[in-house]
């Protein structure tokens, strides 16, 4: 792997950039691997990276149906935060944020993690109660999150409208200063490049069409559009299509898939300093390094595998944004798109073993998976390598829907994440 640095960049500039190698190879699949990851998004590629880096498993492959990063890794609004309520979630997302903080150096790839702060607005007494519950819980868990008055929120985010005359006046806000955004594609490419350099085969345009199991029920391999592959370990990280992939192994997942839309405005000069989320008014917004306002909200109401949602969702999202920022009505929507998110009954992920020996799953991230990428990938790799969960993902079992030990962040906070 050719190291990236200012020096190498300058030296390549002298060479008209002819010397840069491929960031990852384009191998054909081998007949067998020690482990196979299905799904080449940030979670799957990250898992491959940590399997190779931390667990010495390098004879592995990532199988991607299309192009890596083409699913939700490349379709999200890139928000990163860890101010979750429950201990289990807080530990998982904080693990991720800590990894984010060193990820560019770790991968030698600038993922542009920008700790610009995530501000969550409270618009009613219920929001205030809920956010204070979060702030206190985070404090006792050692996670930064602070309560701001409306004036303090305005000082942190000057475009914010804190007039008492708006429909849902701002009553305060919770701020996680360590939260922010990152460049989503760079995370995918950085993990791919890092994993590839350690020998991981990243195989694109390779859809898994069957999962084979032996007489003891354990997995033995997969069929793909590029041939059959033998393996004793399969990690599924296929976001919106996880239920379909798991169905190939005969496992029915407690997942529903919904379209989730987002949009960007035309690029403008810096006008929005942080990430801002409002659950009651229901939208979130930040500004990308290119200058686009990046805007999102909730899922469409109907389950679907179509990456196209209805305009009415966009309309409601922009209603909310323009209510909070009336100066933006003359801005223009440049591009809108959708992704398919997989949602569990308690809106927390499933990361762990499955009833099938050798089959592991990392799914159910709903609308909040991107921020967890490094942490999720890291503990998923641990689970696959050791056939037992890392303490951080131990609570996120598939079994919890049977036992009732749910981790219901959305119910507890009604906060989009």
């Amino acid at each position: 792997m050719r190291r990236f640095s200012l020096t190498s960049l300058l030296s390549e500039a002298m060479n008209a950039h002819q010397g840069w190698p491929r960031q990852w190879r384009k191998p054909d699949p081998k007949p067998a691997y020690d482990a196979v990851i299905i799904g080449g998004g940030s979670h799957g590629l990250g898992a491959a990276y940590y399997l190779a880096k931390q667990h010495g498993l390098t004879n592995i492959a990532v199988l991607e149906k299309g192009w890596i990063g083409g699913g939700n890794s490349g379709r999200n609004t890139t928000i990163i935060r860890s101010n979750y309520l429950y201990d289990e979630s807080a530990a998982l997302y904080e693990h991720a944020v800590k990894l984010w903080e060193g990820l560019s150096e770790e991968l030698n790839y600038n993922v542009m993690f920008s700790q610009r702060g995530v501000l969550m607005l409270a618009h009613n007494v219920h929001d205030v109660q809920s956010f204070k519950r979060h702030v206190y819980a985070n404090r006792l868990n050692g996670i930064d999150n602070e309560w701001l008055t409306p004036e303090e929120a305005k000082a942190f985010c000057p475009p914010l409208n804190i007039s008492p005359d708006i429909r849902y006046p701002v009553m305060g806000a919770a701020l996680q200063r360590r939260g922010g955004t990152a460049r989503h594609d760079a995370v995918v490419w950085g993990y791919a490049r890092g994993a590839d350099a350690m020998g991981v085969d990243i195989i694109e345009n390779c859809e898994v069409t069957a999962i084979h199991r032996g007489p003891d029920g354990a997995v033995t391999g997969v069929d793909t559009t590029r041939g059959s592959i033998k393996t004793k370990k399969i990690g599924v990280s296929a976001s919106g299509h996880t239920s379909m992939v798991m169905g190939l192994a005969g496992v029915r997942m407690p997942l529903e898939s919904f379209p989730l839309q987002a949009l960007v405005s035309e690029p403008v000069k810096p006008c929005f300093p942080c990430v801002l989320m409002s659950n009651a008014v229901h939208a979130y917004i930040s500004q990308s390094d290119k200058g686009e306002l990046v805007i999102g909200a909730g899922t469409d109401q109907y389950v679907s595998y179509s990456q196209q949602g209805g305009l009415h969702i966009t309309t409601h999202t922009l209603d909310a944004i323009c209510e909070l920022f009336p100066q933006f009505t003359r801005m223009k929507m440049m591009r809108s798109w959708g992704g398919i998110v997989d949602v569990t009954p308690d809106r927390s992920p499933i990361i762990g073993k499955t009833p099938v020996k050798g089959l592991y799953v990392n799914c159910g991230w709903g609308t909040g998976g991107f921020k967890a990428s490094p942490g999720s990938a890291n503990v998923f790799a641990h689970t696959i390598a050791r056939d037992e969960p890392h303490p951080i993902n131990a609570p996120f079992t598939l079994d919890r829907f049977r036992t009732g030990r749910l981790i219901d962040e959305a119910a507890a906070a009604a906060v989009a994440h």
Binding site: N110, S114, N124
Partner: protein, 1002 residues
């Protein structure tokens, strides 16, 4: 500026109507009918902006929606300034102030141009490779610097005074695009009597016919045919014509969304007009006639101001009467530019035409340019000039690719034509499958998914006669007619081109800066660099280089990038595919999308029938779901605390009156109503007698508490169900979900009656004294009308459902009357209550009173993770019923663990500290972080009745911790609190029966 480049005659502009606007402060002369772009060119302005990344000087490239370069800030007055407007689409309007963007200190002298000098370093994706050290510099230094350099215009910072509206419409045939194909389609469809909408993004309908000065259609000049067509259509009542209207999104079920620019072109619009109107159209059939976009050619420095598309030169000459240059060099790989060159020549301009095709490949188009200097088999090696092009460097290329002697052709304008890309955006958005036509080097519509058809250039048809016939047939077919019509067009349209990726050059291709995406400054070598680094998917190339991601979304550049990818990978284009066409087609104003949903109309405010009375009596309101509820009624000098103390005292000692109308109400009727409730709720309903009420906790499938409320049985087949204020819509949806999907056999109707019934809660020891004189036909005596009973009768002669219920712990009634009568009844009660000190109270007092009694509020004391047993209400869950919603989940092992969080009371040990709602609870404050949290405070109030603050909390294993001391977070640390049962006042509940209770914990 004088109109130095206005041609003496020609064009569709109105020379009798001159006007002025300013560009960067300088006056620009224009005529009605000009765009800002055509007026700037008429005034000799070439430099219109700076590019995104390298801040290179840029001019006007196109004449339409695909413009990547000339993006301007437009100022129409205070609050009406917005960035990134395409000069080619903004109509010249008197008084406009337009300004170029993305430069400092000025357009002419831009410090940002240093990026251009650094371009050998600032290649595609360079930022992924650096700015990583030292780590802290990213947030503090690198990123702010990148951000300041990026972006284009400046975001508006003032509220927008303009209005936007939505219009919903249905039609038989929607025709998108009013060029020759769309006009023919609309006419054919309209003839059948079908309801037709014809929309076009331009100010004038006509498309390419607006600059067609040579062709004759059916023997008439094209302009005449156009005028007739427009007049015909305008005269028909079944046709709606929408100029200045862009169809930007094609959604499911033939839902097409268009935005109409209503006032931007008016110097002094009528104040009642909206700025834009968003049309949401459901069309039985859609005819897409959106034309094609011309491709520029890629060669070194092909981006200098003055270099534009060949057809754009033709448009400026023919439609606007403007010479974009006096000495024009056309460079083409196809036939259409010959017509452009001929028209420029006819306008008296000095014209040279360079064709990259060998002489032998040139067809009949050659005849069009008699007398024009014509170089064939030539390539372009570069351009000269900086803020305006001054020449093109050309050289002949032999059959085996040898480049001959170079010549510089002096020019002040160049017209490039690299062929045409059909505008398949809407088709692709409709989920139709594209197919690649090698002969056209372009994707065209393949198989359809929705009811649409593409006609004309957007379907790959470029000959005018064929376009008209195809349009006509398409329009007819869309209107279920088989009418066909042929059109005679003379002379024939010059068509056909040879696809070229990057013009041949003898320079090192790794160093040639041939621009593809002009706005984002993506060059051919950037695409090759991406491929070299392994970005082979077209989506990867797009994301790594940002090609096609600018405000024009790659309309002029995507095919070029795809072609280079195809060549580099040696794979045919169809195997590479194309990026997804995403809405919108062109950027859409947020205001248009949100329409009227602003200010008071953003979210409707629901007001209870007694809202006005409360407002007149000084109530302070709070938002609860969509409702605005009276929060408390302060008297002179009172703060909320004092008002609530007074209100509470009045209810406990005399009588209070409260507007409970916002409570959700659902009338559940039908022969199976009782069975339905028996399944929906965990407790038993079958034996509830008419005239009785029962409290119900509603669970979701997961077994957790979802809503609660009192349910009254009015008759054997009729229940009056109440819900929480915020929960009413979801409870009704939940009921309907079960009725329609799980138990369709049950004969039950569930009807929202929230608005029908006003609810007046009359609470306190003197409630009966106030109520009794107004009620004639209901015996209010405790024996005849006990707690949790319901009676129907009359109050003041008005029909009422009278509940004997209490959410305060006091003896009380809830008087349901029709909403229209609420105020009369309320005022009568207030008058009758005066001798008893009747006191109106708000939601805050209601909260305090219920908390003193330990009554929960779903959503505050529960959070979607709480079972009935957690609340101490496990006894409500029937053990005998075969099933109810949530039963199976309640049987899961974790649902009965002893360490579940249970509802308890908390009393601070100091007796004074008011705990914060949301505060967390620990057993030991000295433990290290992360601490073990036991639960949190759900409700906390200062209680006058108890003489101290009281709180409710969910605490792990709470019922086993009664009398333990725990520690609760405060803004500065912790405070100690004792765990008690969650009822602080009258725990036995005697007062509802008129017996004075006791205060156990004071």
């Amino acid at each position: 500026m004088p109109q130095s480049h206005r041609l003496p005659r020609g064009g569709r502009i109105d020379r009798a109507r001159p006007l002025h606007f300013t560009f960067n402060g300088a006056a620009v002369e224009a005529y009605a009918g000009d765009t800002v772009a055509s007026a700037l060119l008429a005034n000799g302005v070439k430099l219109a902006g700076r590019s995104f990344k390298y801040h290179r000087p840029r001019g006007i490239l196109t004449h339409g929606a695909d413009e990547p370069n000339a993006l301007l800030s437009v100022d129409r007055g205070p609050g009406r300034v917005d960035p990134n407007n395409r000069a080619t689409m903004v109509e010249a309007t008197a008084g406009l102030k337009v300004a170029s963007q993305n430069h400092w200190p000025s357009l002419e002298h831009d410090v940002g141009a240093v990026n251009d000098w650094l371009s050998p370093v600032f290649v595609a994706g360079f930022y992924y490779k650096t700015f990583m050290w030292p780590r802290a510099f990213w947030d503090k230094f690198y990123e702010p610097a990148i951000r300041a350099a990026a972006g284009l215009g400046v975001a508006p910072d003032a509220a927008d005074p303009d209005r936007y509206v939505h219009r919903h419409a249905h039609c038989d045939v929607l025709v998108v695009g009013a060029g020759p194909a769309g006009l023919a389609a609309a006419r054919a469809a309209a003839q059948t009597g079908a309801r037709v909408i014809l929309a076009d993004e331009q100010a004038e309908l006509g498309g390419s016919l607006l600059h067609e000065t040579t062709a004759h259609i059916d023997g008439k000049p094209a302009a005449e045919w156009l005028a007739e067509s427009r007049a015909d259509l305008a005269a028909l009542a079944n046709v709606t014509l929408l100029p200045r209207t862009t169809a930007f999104g094609y959604y499911n079920h033939n839902h097409i969304v268009l935005t109409e620019r209503v006032t931007d072109h008016l110097a002094d619009p009528a104040p009642d007009l909206p700025r834009e109107r968003l049309w949401q159209v459901r069309a039985k059939e859609v005819v897409i006639a959106t034309g094609a976009h011309e491709r520029p050619l890629a060669f070194a420095d092909n981006d200098r101001p003055g270099i534009m598309l060949a057809e754009s030169v033709r448009v400026y000459v023919n439609r606007y009467g403007v010479a974009p240059g006096r000495r024009i060099v056309f460079v083409t790989s196809g036939a259409s530019a010959y017509r452009a060159a001929a028209d420029a020549k006819a306008a008296g301009l000095d014209v040279t035409l360079v064709d990259v095709r060998p002489d032998s490949a040139i067809g009949a188009e050659r005849a069009l340019i008699a007398g024009v200097r014509h170089l064939t088999g030539h390539t372009v090696l570069g351009s000269t000039g900086r803020k305006s092009v001054t020449g093109l460097i050309v050289a002949p290329v032999t059959a085996d690719g040898i480049i001959g002697a170079r010549t510089t052709l002096p020019c002040d304008c160049a017209g490039l034509s690299g062929g045409w890309t059909p505008s398949v955006h809407l088709f692709s958005q409709s989920r139709g499958k594209l197919s690649f036509r090698t002969d056209l080097d372009a994707f065209v519509p393949g198989s359809s998914v929705q009811k649409e058809r593409s006609v004309g250039a957007c379907a790959g048809t470029f000959d005018l006669a064929a376009i008209l016939a195809e349009g006509w047939a398409g329009g007819a077919a869309a209107a279920r007619s088989e009418a066909a019509r042929d059109f005679a067009v003379t002379p024939a349209t010059p068509v056909g081109f040879k696809p070229v990726r990057v013009l041949r050059s003898d320079a090192d291709p790794a160093k040639v800066r041939a621009f593809l995406d002009f706005q984002n400054d993506v060059t051919a070598k950037d695409i090759r660099l991406a491929i070299r680094e392994g970005f082979e998917s077209v989506e990867h190339v797009k994301r790594y280089t940002t090609t096609g991601m600018a405000t024009d979304q790659g309309k002029t550049s995507n095919m070029a990038a795809l072609g280079i990818l195809s060549e580099a990978l040696d794979r045919p284009v169809p195997q590479i595919g194309t990026t997804t066409f995403r809405p919108p087609y062109t950027p859409v104003t947020f205001g248009a999308i949100i329409g009227a949903s602003r200010d008071a109309l953003f979210d409707p405010i629901r007001q209870a029938p007694l809202h006005d009375w409360a407002a007149e009596h000084g109530a302070v309101f709070e938002n609860v779901a969509l409702w605005r509820r009276a929060w408390y009624f302060p008297q002179a000098g009172e703060d909320m605390h004092a008002a609530v103390r007074r209100e509470c005292k009045a209810v406990r000692e005399g009588v209070g009156i409260f507007d409970a109308s916002t409570l959700g109400k659902i009338e559940v009727t039908g022969p199976d109503a009782a069975e339905f409730l028996n399944r929906i709720y965990p407790n038993a309903w079958l034996k509830l007698e008419p005239g009785k009420c029962r409290y119900g906790l509603m669970l979701k499938e997961d077994g957790f508490v979802f809503d609660d409320g009192v349910v009254a049985r009015i008759a054997p087949d009729c229940f009056h169900v109440t819900t929480t204020t915020g929960g009413a819509p979801r409870v009704l949806a939940h009921m309907e979900d079960y009725l329609q999907t799980e138990w369709p056999d049950l004969k039950v109707f569930a009807t929202s009656t929230t608005e029908e019934w006003a609810v007046i809660a009359l609470q306190g020891p003197r409630a009966r004294d106030v109520l009794a004189p107004l009620v004639d036909d209901i015996d209010l005596s405790p024996e005849a009308f006990p707690h949790m009973a319901i009676r129907t009768g009359h109050i003041m002669g008005i029909p009422t459902r009278l509940f004997r219920v209490s959410f305060t712990g006091e003896m009380g009634f809830e008087i349901n009357v029709q909403a229209d009568h609420a105020r009369a009844v309320w005022e009568a009660l207030v008058a009758r209550g005066a001798p008893f000190g009747i006191t109106p109270y708000g939601t805050e007092t209601m909260h305090v009173l219920r908390a003193e009694r330990g009554f929960i509020i779903v959503g505050q004391d529960t959070d979607g993770t709480v079972t009935p047993d957690d609340l101490g209400l496990g006894g409500m869950v029937s053990k005998a019923k075969p099933d109810f919603v949530g039963k199976r989940s309640l049987a899961r092992p974790d649902m009965t663990l002893p360490d579940r969080k249970q509802l308890v009371g908390l009393l601070t040990e100091d007796g004074r500290t008011l705990l914060e709602e949301g505060a967390q609870i620990v057993a030991d404050t000295r433990q290290p972080v992360p601490m073990t949290m036991l639960g949190h405070v759900t409700s906390s109030y200062d209680s006058a009745a108890c003489g101290r603050p009281v709180a409710m909390a969910l605490v792990a294993g709470g019922r086993a911790r009664i009398n333990d001391t725990l520690h609760v977070t405060t803004p500065t640390g912790f405070t100690a609190a004792r765990v008690v049962p969650p009822a602080f006042f009258d725990p036995e509940g005697k007062r509802v029966n008129g017996i004075a209770g006791t205060n156990t914990h004071a």
